[in-house]
């Protein structure tokens, strides 16, 4: 890492040799207990949670630079991500998906007179994209937990953290470290290694936009499974009962502001559109202003990262357009001092009717007469929904969560927890470890 990201080998022979060495490391992995692997991986992850560890310090510097986030934000991201890489949550992940984790170590009775075992395979190829730090390391850990060696191509803004985790792992357990390799190349420049990995991997895991996934799917052998994590839309919903007073509403807004600010709105978990219910003492438009105040005060402790010229130009278009609409009496408003701290776009239409942009720390707030109408509003987005921060009284949460779930939302949470799903969450509604194994049945000889 000292001299830039690790690049793929130039020749086919070197590429072949890299993949061979990963497979060989897999032979050693097969002999280890999965619960022991969780402990070793967890020990490596804990180093990145230790503020005094030189690796953590290096990670903060590099992540801030590479992902264009502020240093405090880099620290928060590493803290949050590495929180899921420690031994306890990793063991919990294993036990959630495999109540008997030994099923990854050998054949186990299935309770129906035969035996069954889960195999992770001998080589997997994981492809990250974008610049959310920590996605690559999480993906790598999942593969190693199911004992499958992994070649990771991280996203452009996620190289440093992936490499530093692997370094921590290698320093903790050299043999386990050999079962993972990281190489980075810009899209379309993977050469021999990419071609070989696509041809030879038992399974491919990819994170990215629909174009990337579609292109990748077309390149895979028909028999190679692809585990795809598409880009997602997350949001928020605030019930009128929780806006009983300005103080209550401001507290909700502060939590929402933190969910927006974390990852500077880049995460699939980041709430881009928040619907606020009408009929409470605090009106949705007033709540939008409180949200803007929350973002502004947060920018002191959790400063925003850099905004690219292109994103800024598009946001300026939206700011000016909302101002023109307001001038025309449509009820649109823009709150917030500048693009960097984040603007809150209040759009009086409840539907996602027109293109709207919520990027960097900007967010769209929409009023809704009743949150039960969200099902109608969100229907066009049902295939891409993921996390929803829901702030509602307990007696409404179940019903609202059910209607969100029926639309395709896979995680209903609070704004406070929204940026940090637990290590054992059902990622996009799937079980991330079970997605990485093949089941083998050993039928009774009787």
């Amino acid at each position: 890492m000292a001299n830039g990201p690790p690049t793929p080998p130039a020749s086919r022979e070197e590429a072949r040799s890299l993949l061979r060495s990963l497979r060989e490391a897999g032979d050693g992995l097969a002999l280890r207990r999965s619960l022991d692997l969780a402990q070793v991986l967890g020990a490596a992850g804990s180093r990145l949670r230790d503020p005094a560890d030189p690796l953590r310090i290096e990670a903060e510097e590099k992540v801030a630079d590479e992902a264009s986030v502020s240093r405090p934000m880099a620290s928060e991201i590493i803290e949050g991500m590495a929180g899921g890489w420690e031994a306890q949550p990793l063991e919990q992940l294993l036990r959630t998906e495999f109540p008997d984790p030994a099923i990854l170590d050998g054949f186990r009775p299935d309770g129906h007179g035969q035996e069954v075992r889960a195999f992770g395979g001998s080589l997997s190829f994981h492809i990250g994209s974008g610049n959310v730090p920590g996605v690559g390391a999480t993906s790598m850990i999942r593969s190693l937990l199911v004992k499958c060696p992994v070649l990771l191509k991280p996203g452009q803004g996620d190289i440093a953290l992936s490499c530093l985790f692997l370094r921590a792992l290698t320093e903790t357990d050299r043999m386990l470290g050999k079962a993972a390799a990281i190489r980075y190349w810009p899209a379309g420049q993977g050469g021999e290694l990419e071609a070989l990995a696509i041809a030879e991997a038992d399974r491919v895991v990819a994170y990215g936009g629909n174009d990337l996934i579609a292109k990748l799917r077309s390149r895979l052998p028909p028999t190679t499974p692809l585990v795809a994590y598409h880009h997602r839309l997350s949001g928020g919903a605030v019930a009128r009962e929780t806006l009983g007073s300005i103080d209550e509403a401001a507290a909700v807004a502060r939590e929402a502001a933190r969910a927006i600010a974390t990852f500077d709105q880049r995460g699939c978990v980041s709430p881009q559109v928040i619907w606020v219910e009408e009929g409470g003492p605090v009106r949705p438009v007033e709540w939008a202003e409180l949200l803007s105040e929350g973002l502004e005060s947060l920018s002191a402790t959790l400063p925003p990262g850099k905004i690219g010229a292109g994103e800024a130009a598009l946001l300026q278009q939206q700011v000016g357009t909302f101002e023109m609409q307001r001038a025309a009496g449509t009820g649109h408003r823009v709150f917030g001092r500048d693009l960097v701290q984040g603007r809150v776009f209040f759009d009086p239409g409840r539907f996602l009717a027109n293109p709207l942009l919520a990027t960097c720390r900007s967010v769209v707030v929409k009023p809704i007469s009743d949150l039960s109408a969200l099902s109608e509003v969100l229907r066009p987005a049902s295939r891409v929904l993921q996390s929803f921060g829901l702030v509602a009284p307990e007696e409404r949460r179940q019903a609202l969560a059910t209607s969100l779930a029926m639309l395709g939302v896979t995680r209903v949470t609070t704004f406070g927890r929204q940026p940090w799903p637990r290590a054992w969450w059902r990622h996009d509604g799937t079980e991330p470890l079970r997605a990485l194994v093949n089941w083998v049945e050993l039928e009774s000889a009787d």
Binding site: H231, L233, G310, E311, T321, P355
Partner: protein, 369 residues
């Protein structure tokens, strides 16, 4: 010596007119007036054209931007789509087409006509230039400001046998173009071949490696425009292909930069200056009644010299809508014009979230091509 009357410089004259137009528009366009006041700006404190509050191009999609008078508008031009997806189309209401005509010819006479000045209006009062456009005709596409401009060129410059060679779906008839060019070659009539970048790229794909050499003295006017399309060809590659296919030197391929929201156009002055051939080294210049400032993308304050920012135009030909227009284009200022670096995109800093606007775009049917 008698009293000396100071002649105002071009800059001072532009400034005076721009402020006059700004004040007129505040009154004539109530929404714009409210927009300016909403920004807390006192119009009497605006003393320089670059301080005039600019309306984003995207606002043309949401708000009818025209004068509030009782006379009917003469034309309504619509945008084709933007990089933000296939949302609603921008609308520019034009009250007085004669102003647009004067503006478009004012610029084109300076930047395009030199290509065939020698052939203009011979003794028979007939031009010896054939205009071929690989676009739909003004009859097929009455709401395009670009096609209107091509139609005007056709009306005034063409020798009488010019043609629009695409159907209403922008499908180019490659064979018809070939025949039209051959007819010119036989008579030694130079051709002005015009179209959007997308149409040219599509045409090159269609005719593959075959060549359609244009007669000596010909010129290509390419108007940019991959907006809203998924396919984009790098400009250097497109120009190399055009040069090869049509047998023209690169310096005879001119880019026009315009948009529905502006009634003035900018051109690369390659025909005036004989180059440069490399598209990357070129710049754009407009007529005297439009000026461009480069704005810092975050603050919208004037960008520092040579720094990339958002292009913001003040176009006095937009008399009856709004003259100050903030674009989605990024570029930097050069001595007498600007260089375009590209169009605003989101790819640079995205994570794994899907933008709400992409989602909305995805839910819409595609633009027919």
């Amino acid at each position: 010596m008698g009293p000396v009357t100071e002649v105002p410089s071009a800059g001072e004259r532009f400034n005076r007119l721009a402020l006059e137009v700004f004040r007129y528009q505040l009154e004539a366009n109530a929404v714009y007036g409210a927009f300016v006041r909403g920004r807390g700006i006192d119009p009497s404190e605006v003393h320089d054209w670059s301080e005039i509050p600019a309306v984003p191009t995207r606002a043309f999609k949401e708000i009818p931007l025209g004068y509030g008078g009782s006379r009917p508008v003469e034309a309504i031009f619509r945008t084709s789509g933007t990089s933000l997806g296939q949302g609603p189309r921008g609308v520019h209401q034009v009250r007085d087409l004669s102003l647009y005509r004067d503006s478009l010819f004012g610029a084109a006479n300076r930047f395009v006509a030199p290509a065939f000045r020698d052939t203009m209006k011979n003794r028979d009062h007939k031009n010896n230039i054939r205009l071929l456009f690989i676009t739909p005709s003004p009859t097929q596409l009455a709401d395009s400001s670009l096609i209107f401009m091509f139609g005007e060129w056709m009306r005034v410059w063409d020798d009488g046998a010019g043609a629009f060679l695409a159907d209403s779906g922008w499908r180019v008839r490659g064979d018809a173009l070939k025949r039209a060019v051959e007819a010119c070659t036989g008579r030694g009539t130079p051709v002005l071949l015009g179209g959007t970048a997308f149409s040219f790229a599509h045409l090159l794909d269609q005719i593959d490696e075959s060549e359609i050499p244009l007669p000596p003295g010909s010129v290509i006017v390419e108007t940019g425009g991959f907006k809203g399309r998924t396919q984009a060809v790098p400009r250097a590659e497109l120009y190399a292909g055009l040069s090869r296919t049509f047998g023209l030197p690169l310096a005879r391929i001119v880019n026009e930069y315009g948009m529905t929201e502006l009634l003035s156009q900018f051109y690369e002055p390659v025909l005036l200056e004989g180059g440069p051939a490399d598209p990357e080294e070129r710049r754009h210049i407009g007529p005297p009644w439009v000026r461009t400032s480069v704005r810092d993308p975050i603050s919208l304050a004037p960008a520092r010299d040579g720094e990339v920012g958002i292009l913001c135009h003040v176009d006095l030909a937009n008399l009856d809508s709004v003259s100050a227009v903030l674009t989605e284009d990024l570029g930097y200022a050069v001595e007498d014009g600007f260089r375009i670096v590209g169009r605003a995109e989101l790819a640079e800093a995205r994570g794994c979230s899907l933008l709400a606007e992409q989602l909305v775009a995805a839910a819409r049917p595609p633009i027919p091509t």
